[in-house]
Each structure stands twice: as C-alpha cells, then as structure tokens.
Amino acid sequence: MEISVLVLGVLFEKLRPDLAVRRWWARHGFAAPGGGHAVPGPVALAGVDARRLLLRPTTLFVGYVLWRTLVKPLPRSTYDGVNSTIGFAWAFLGLVVLVVVASIAGRDRGEEIVAATPGGERAPVSSWVVLLVGAAVLEYGIVALHRYGHEVPLSYAALMPNAWELAQPSLMLLGGGLLGLIGARLLPGWVAAPLAALVSLVWIGVLSGVFTVTTMLTPVVEWVQYHENSAVVTIEPGSFGWHNAYLLGLCGLGAVAALLTTPGRRRPLLAAGALLLAGTVVAGALALP
C-alpha cells in the first residue's frame, strides 16, 4: 500500500498530467476561473501557492488516502478513537507538512527576480506563514467536526478533549510547517527536509515517551493515559489550555525566526520575538502540573 502510494505520487510529480489538462482547457477557449477582487499581498501569494499545491494530482491523491485512512473511519470510532486518532494521526500531519514546506520553501532564497519586487524576499516567507495558518485553521475545523459530530457515551464525556485541547494537532501542523520553513530558508531542500523531520521526531519521541513533568513542554501530549486494562484511564495533569498557548508562542517564534532570514527591517521582528519568548516561557510554566 505504502509503496503503491509512493510510486503513484512520484509518477504524478514527474508527468504532471494536470498541466496537459490545463493546456487542453486553454486551447479550447476555456478561461481559468477567477474572481475580480483584490486581497492583501501575502494572502494573494498564499492563494496562488495553495491553489497550485491543492490542484496537483499528488496532493489530490495523498488527500484521498488521508481521507480514507483518517477521516472516513472516524464516525465509527469510540472515545479512544477520538483521542488517539485525532490527537496523534492528525498531529502527525504536521510532519508531512514540515517535509513538504522544507522541500520547496527555499526556492525564493537569494533569487534576485524576487528580491527586486516591492515586498522583496520577505513577501514569499510571509505568504508561507499565512498559508500554514490557513491550513491549521482548516485542520482544526475538520477535527472539531469529528469530535462534536457524533455522540459520545456520557460516561466517557469527561475523557474527551475540549475545544482548546483539540487545537493541539493544528498547532502541530503550524509548528511543523514553520520548522520546515526555517530549515528551507537556511539549508538546501535536500538537507532541510530530513534534518527538520529528525529534530521534530526526536523532540516528540524522546521527550513524550513517558509522562514526566517535562511532557507538557513537548508538542504532543496525550489527553488520557491508558493502562494495561484499557478500561482504566487517567487524565493527564497539567493545563492543556496553557499548553496550547505555549505551542502558539513557539509557532510565533518560528514565524519570527523565518522572517528574520530575509533582508529587511529587523528591529520590529526582534521586539516581537522578545515579547513572544517571554509569553512562551510564562505559558510553558503555567502548563506544568
């Protein structure tokens, strides 16, 4: 299964059948759809990239596979399905996004054709941040839909993640993407993607294996701990709300770090970074049990 997904993905990327379809479409006099409204620069640029990425056969194919494996089974799942599948499977989407962004977001680095435009090199980086925020919000919507979209037995209701806790996978996606963006801005794509993935896996895997005080400072925290007898569960201590605030602070720091890799005014970014750092430290401390 995994190999056939990989092979099909590679074939789609090599052949780009969508371009042949669009060429045929244009030759037969059909104009591409498009609105007539103007939007801010980073949003417009994010829109161009989002449209380009979403309409690629590879994305459509991977999206279909994710839907079949992650989304479709959810309505039939029990409370632990919501906790584990939503919490982990959706959180690990951040890793996929990290690799994709790390592979392609470095394309603007040092390109003079981009540097000579009004926004300079900072505009594409800002647009990546906008794109990732958009993707995180979309993911939150899907996860929330599945959390609240089916009935949960009353006895398990207390173990279900609340609206704040559900934000964790989205923050993972945002944080993963931003880590990929920083990697792409500083390193060649073939180094950035595996290195950023390795860093995040070590961070998640090593620190969150066993619950300790520091678990609340890692990106992924399980809402419930299952014991050998799966009927017995305990809810993790600590504040998940503050954990989210801590993750959001890290994401903000990631965005500032990515923007600092571009030429331009640095002082406002450094000031924002200092404020975010202070806020992240406070949120992290408050998240601890």
């Binding site: 498009g34 620069g41 000579a116």
Partner: protein, 284 residues
Amino acid sequence: MSVQVHGVRKRFGRTTALDGLSLDVGGGVTGLLGPNGAGKTTLLRIVATVLAADSGTVSVLGRDPGDARQRAEIRRRLGYLPQDVGAYNGFSVREFVDYIAVLKEHRERRARRAEVERVLELVDLTDQAYTRVKSLSGGMRRRLGLATAYLGDPELLVLDEPAVGLDPQQRLRFRELVSNDPARTILLSTHQTDDVAALCRDVIVVNEGRVLFRGSPAELAASARGRVWRSDAREPGAELAWVAGDGTTRMIGDPPPGADLVEPTVEDAYLVLVGATALQPVEV
C-alpha cells in the same frame, strides 16, 4: 534622468567591482558594454535595488534605493531581468509569471490573468504557457525572465544580458520589442556589440569598475577611426588580427603608413577601448 549614479564603489572581499563609477541614464535604450568582470552586473544589481553600494550616491527614478519606502516605490516601477533568472523548475511558465505578478502587486485576479497573457504574448511564450520551467531551453528561460520584467509595463527596465541564448529570430523579435518603446528607459548589458549598434541610443563602455566611454554607437565606432585596417597578412602594429570572410586579415592597432584603413564598427571600437583584456571574454 531615470538613473543617476555618482562615485559608486563596491567591493567583494579583495575584488573591486565598481571603482568610483559615475553615470546618468535618461530615456531610450542605453547599452552597457564591457568584458567579463568589468562591473556591469554589479552596477545593474545596484540600479535594480537588490544590492547596496559601499559608497557613492544612487538615484533611481528620482528616489533613493537606500531608504526602505523609496526602494519599494522604485521596485513598483522597475522591471529587472537578472543574469540568472532562477525560475522554479516545478512551476509551469504561466504559474511562474503569475507568481511574480502577485509579488509585483497585481492582486486582482482577472486583471492579473490578462497581464500574464499579455507579457507571455510579448515574448512569444503563449504556446509554452503550460510547459514546465525545467523543460525550457536556455533561450526560452531568458524570454520567461523577460516576460516577468515587462509585468506592469514598468518605467525602467534593467536587463542583464537579455539576448543570451536567443536564436536569430528571437533576437530580432527582442530588438523589435525593445526598440518600439522609445518612452521607456532601458538599461541593458550585453557582450553583443551588434545589438548595441542596432538598438541603443547611448552606449557606455565599462572596464575594471570605471566608465571608459559614453556616447552614441556612431560616436563609439568613430572613436576607432584610423585604428582599423586590412591586409593580406598580419602586420607588426596589429594588437588584434583575424581573417575575415573575404580572406583578408582585419587588424586593430597602430596601422603602418599607407595601410588600407577601413571604417570601424562598434565592435572594433570596443576592442580598441578595452584592449587586450577583451581578448578573453569576447567572441571575435
């Protein structure tokens, strides 16, 4: 004047790229000639606001590129074709031009689409609109870069070796494109002296970071009068000599008394000006 550069110096480590260079560029096409390493690309990068000078003053379209706001204003009215276009291989031609159009603040989608189609038509890439960038030849990539430079009908075009890799038909099309636009200021660098002779109202010869000559192509050619002659074989006063198509040897240097002097071309005059340093980079 669209571009004013006075006493500009730029060093890269121990290498001096521009050594107190000064020039003014007004409307029409101005050609920048010079051997490799003369400082042409550095000068164009400074004018295109992607590189800052170490010292000296630069004014582009009446604004100071050192000031962030004025720099953004210059970039709104500037089209730049760098030496290396650096187009993204994964994009189609249309996607790449569209992407740069958004960066150039064409945010209204319908108008942007029309503008992308206009510039693709301008450089004859309409049929390749859905071809991937990585499949393009060197000349097509150059035309792709040219298309992005023309986005938004800029007041000032800065073109670094725009005709490299173009086939003869496309070169003529390029000449047509550039020469039919007398109101625009175009600053282009090239090694092709015939392009300069055919296109440029003014020509500036640069070598070792300094301006050696400024004038019209005719004035440049005239500056070599009495230095170009022909004979059956190479003669002692010749600094450069080559056998022409008619079998005679054409020479540049100090002609002997009674030599058969010929009317110099822009290329002859350029070679006289830059001397032996031109032998390496210029195809003669």
